[in-house]
């Protein structure tokens, strides 16, 4: 079997996954008590106004018919209209994709940049003070809720030291990066903690592995043994962990987006859920699902690239 053959077959597996997600989201959001018409009408809701809106968005039709329309639209590449924002859901999502994407990417890069040296430091000093310090720091990273951590970062780095903008999302690339720095650091602090723990364990295992012994027996200095042999061989489990966590991260940027006022999909999703903007919830859920599936696919690619033995 060709190692990269899954590139051709895997996309076929996406379809049932996405289909499943569409069904579940559709059912789930409609099971939630609450009525979008009432939400947008607010305190002034009268029964006629409510009926009016429900009719406009087809909410008065039977569920099965609604699902059918949803599928039909989907087949035509459409996701319906937002009740709250009164525009096409795909367009709406289009305006929100970039910040979330940038945030997630930056967080991942930052996490890796933090995790690799930390794990290396800990693994190479296993059991010593440096190792304990890394363990404590990474536990702190996992233990503190991001909304608290984010706020502290703002207070110290933005308000007191004026190093970064307090919140928001910029215009130019440099501006965007400056704005995204703290939020991605917030995410990275917890994500890197998870990665560090995993990477440290694999590195420690690899350090005493036959591969490392063989390299040492060849007279390779510890630096080469570590970075050329131990490190590449420790990657695969961590890549997989990262993949699972990115899925979780993509769906979980909400809190950070809210703290840092990033106009991304997470905020859109929460607002849509709270106002029962069904089409938007479905659309965003599908978008998240696609992203997760894609990330997992990329992780598989990375795994196969990182370890020539692996076939999928």
């Amino acid at each position: 079997m060709h190692r990269y053959r899954f590139v051709l077959t895997r996309p076929l597996q996406f379809l049932p996954v996405l289909f499943g997600i569409s069904v579940i989201t559709f059912i789930l959001v409609r099971l939630i008590p609450g009525d979008p018409a009432r939400v947008i009408l607010g305190t002034r809701a009268t029964p006629t106004a409510i009926a009016n809106i429900r009719a406009q968005y087809g909410l008065d039709e039977p569920l099965i018919a609604q699902y059918f329309y949803f599928l039909r639209n989907l087949a035509q590449g459409q996701m319906g209209r937002s009740i709250l924002y009164k525009i096409d859901v795909l367009r709406l999502i289009g305006t929100r994709v970039e910040p979330t994407l940038v945030l997630v990417l930056a967080s991942v890069v930052l996490s890796v940049l933090i995790a690799v040296p930390m794990a290396a430091l800990a693994a190479r000093n296993q059991g010593k003070a440096a190792d304990q310090a890394v363990r404590i720091v990474s536990t702190l990273g996992i233990g503190f809720p991001p909304f608290w951590l984010g706020l502290m970062l703002i207070i110290v780095l933005s308000v007191q030291l004026s190093l970064f903008p307090v919140s928001g999302y910029g215009n130019t690339l440099a501006d965007k990066l400056a704005h995204i720095a703290l939020p991605s650091l917030t995410i990275a602090l917890s994500l890197s903690a998870v990665l560090t723990r995993s990477l440290r364990v694999s590195m420690i295992a690899m350090l005493s592995s036959d591969i490392a012994t063989a390299a040492r027996a060849r007279g390779m200095p510890e630096r080469i043994v570590f970075w050329r042999h131990v490190f590449p061989n420790s990657l695969v489990p961590t890549i997989n962990l990262l993949a699972v966590n990115i899925g979780w991260l993509i769906g979980g940027t909400v809190v950070v987006e809210s703290v840092f006022a990033i106009p991304g999909m997470g905020q859109l999703l929460v607002r849509a859920i709270f106002s029962r903007d069904y089409m938007v919830v479905q659309g965003v859920a599908m978008a998240f699902a696609c992203a997760t599936v894609l990330v997992n696919f990329l992780a598989d690619l990375a795994t196969v690239a990182a370890d020539p033995r692996i076939k999928l």
Partner: protein
């Protein structure tokens, strides 16, 4: 003997950390001459590997410390050398190859790069020059197409090729001394012969000194100049090869020599079968034109998955009470056959009949019969037992599920089984991890016997064991067979043992039976070229009966390798 290159005096190593420090190497002294091959033999755990690792100060654990002694390499005491100096010594002066090339080669780095890495570091060559040198080394250790193999990853190689790559990596640093720690234990006899040839050839060419660790006396007899025997962390005996083999001084050495399988067996194989074969009994097991295949994937774009035929029309009859040996190189389909017989592998076509009941047509009935009347003993003793259950629990579970013994009698039966395989009764409360390999293997046999089977299939059940323990297990089988009229299918790639134990032997090659007959006949006069090659590759303990392995001119060795190497890697 030429000038002394390495001189070890009173090397002691002990393990700390535990309550009382334990001495693992006890004042070991050894010398190694330039161009000499020193064989280091001894039972498992005697400290052979530890000794070699101490030379380059690469101990497997921080709990181990070198207490005292000197290791003089041309006058320089390696135990006092700085860590930086040691970097130059390791690889550059003393190279190592290991028993298990699979785990010692970096799986994610191209083989060529692993060789070039040492060259660049030790000889300071540039990228391109190192690459050239690496290609040269690949050719030296016998790779037919160095350019292609430079780019391969270790997993794309067969076991023999990997060991060659390992040797290449060690040679890349141009060491004066090569330490080979059980370089062939995991390999086939035929490939083992090639590797040993390669080593001696390199020694002849470059005056390399080699320390060869092994537990096979045959290997030392064939390759070494001098032999040191270790036991319990000490060198108990040391002498030139011939002198030591001819007149072993230490009792342990004597036992070692006596239990070597190439020594003609004192007991001849069980011979009662001839009478049985003549009797009108129907065969216990009949295998008829058996085919087993595994899907083996396809290319990136070609749709149809291909199949790999692991068994290609095997036919075999086994009479009750017979002992049949199955031999053949790795991957020839021995285990597949065993599993297919027991209904553990799907069969593509052909028949397996057990006591006249056909596995294909009456699957459930036959399986029921097999489960109660046949049992298997596995190759890896540790792996074959559930590590979380005590031996007693393991046996009790079988007895309970098989329902052949009254619940009240289970305890007694367990004791009986333990007695039978020669384990103390208190082993019932022990878990596999606290037992040695040989003890685990006995427990595995006890479990097979618990079924009270008519047929036992033993799949390489002694391959992983010490020669001395091997001998015990073989004796045990012989015993059991005599006492209980067991039918035994004995799979091994060690021909010597099969010759010793089995009256009939089946030789497999590429999923087919290429030869079959009485052991004595087959071993005396192999009719198939492949069988002949197998037999001649057995290292004999007699140094004057050298390996008849394929003559090691490079081209030949390559041809041999490709024909003997395992299934092609994708």
């Amino acid at each position: 003997m030429s000038s002394t290159l390495l001189s070890v005096r009173d090397l002691s190593v002990s393990v700390r950390s535990e309550a009382a420090p334990r001495l693992l190497l006890d004042r070991v002294s050894l010398d190694l001459g330039r161009g000499e091959i020193l064989g280091l033999v001894g039972e498992s755990g005697s400290g052979k590997s530890l000794f070699c690792r101490s030379l380059v100060r690469l101990l497997p654990s921080r709990a181990l410390v070198i207490d005292s002694g000197t290791v003089l390499l041309e006058g320089q005491d390696l135990l006092q050398a700085s860590e930086a100096d040691m970097l130059a010594v390791r690889g550059g002066r003393i190279g190592m190859i290991f028993q298990n090339p699979t785990s010692h080669l970096d799986p994610v780095m191209r083989v060529g790069d692993q060789i070039a890495e040492g060259i660049r570091f030790h000889q300071g060559l540039g990228k391109a020059a190192a690459r050239e040198a690496a290609l040269e080394i690949l050719a030296q250790v016998g790779f037919p197409d160095p350019k292609r193999q430079y780019l391969s990853y270790p997993h794309e190689f067969s076991g023999g090729m990997r060991q060659r790559a390992m040797i290449g990596v060690a040679l890349s640093c141009q060491p004066d001394i090569l330490i080979a720690d059980e370089p062939t234990t995991a390999l086939d006899v035929t490939i083992q012969a090639q590797i040993l040839r390669l080593l001696t050839e390199i020694r002849d060419r470059t005056r390399l000194s080699i320390i060869l660790i092994t537990h096979d006396l045959g290997v030392v007899a064939q390759t070494c100049d001098r032999i040191a025997v270790m036991r319990g962390g000490r060198v108990v005996e040391e002498n030139t090869k011939r002198a030591l083999l001819a007149a072993p001084g230490h009792a342990y050495t004597k036992a070692l020599i006596a239990s070597h399988p190439s020594i003609p067996a004192r007991l001849s194989p069980v011979t009662t079968t001839e009478a049985k074969a003549a009797s009108p009994l129907r065969p216990l097991l009949e295998v008829d034109d058996l085919h087993v295949s595994f899907p083996s994937g396809a290319g990136l774009f070609s749709g149809q998955p291909r199949v790999f035929n692991a068994l290609n029309g095997v036919s075999l009859r086994v009479m009750p009470g017979e002992t049949v040996g199955i031999v053949g190189e790795s991957g020839s389909g021995k285990s597949t056959l065993a599993r297919a017989i027991l209904g553990l592998n799907p069969i593509a076509s052909g028949h397996v009949a057990f006591e006249g009941s056909n596995l294909a047509t009456q699957r459930n009935a036959t399986l029921a019969k097999l489960r109660t009347d046949a049992a298997m003993v596995f190759q890896d003793p540790y792996n074959a037992l559930n590590p979380r259950m005590t031996v007693g629990e393991t046996l009790a579970e079988v007895l309970r599920v098989q329902n052949k013994v009254q619940p009240a009698q289970i305890k007694a039966r367990i004791d009986e089984l333990l007695d039978l395989v020669g384990l103390d009764r208190d082993f019932a409360t022990r878990k596999p991890r606290s037992m040695s390999g040989g003890q685990c293997q006995r427990a595995g046999i006890a479990r097979a016997l618990a079924v009270d089977p008519k047929l036992i299939i033993a799949d390489e059940c002694v391959a992983a064991l010490d020669v001395t323990i091997q001998a015990q297990i073989v004796d045990l089988f012989r015993d059991l067979q005599r006492k209980m009229n067991l039918t035994l299918l004995f799979i091994a790639h060690d021909l010597a043992i099969v010759r010793n134990l089995c009256e009939r032997v089946v030789v497999m090659h590429h999923g087919k039976i290429v030869e079959e007959g009485r052991s004595a006949d087959v071993f005396a006069m192999p009719s198939h070229a492949y069988t002949a090659a197998l037999i001649s590759a057995i290292p004999d303990i007699d140094p004057d009966r050298p390996l008849h392995a394929l003559p090691l001119r490079r081209a030949d060795s390559l041809r041999g390798m490709s024909s003997l190497s395992l299934q092609p890697s994708t």
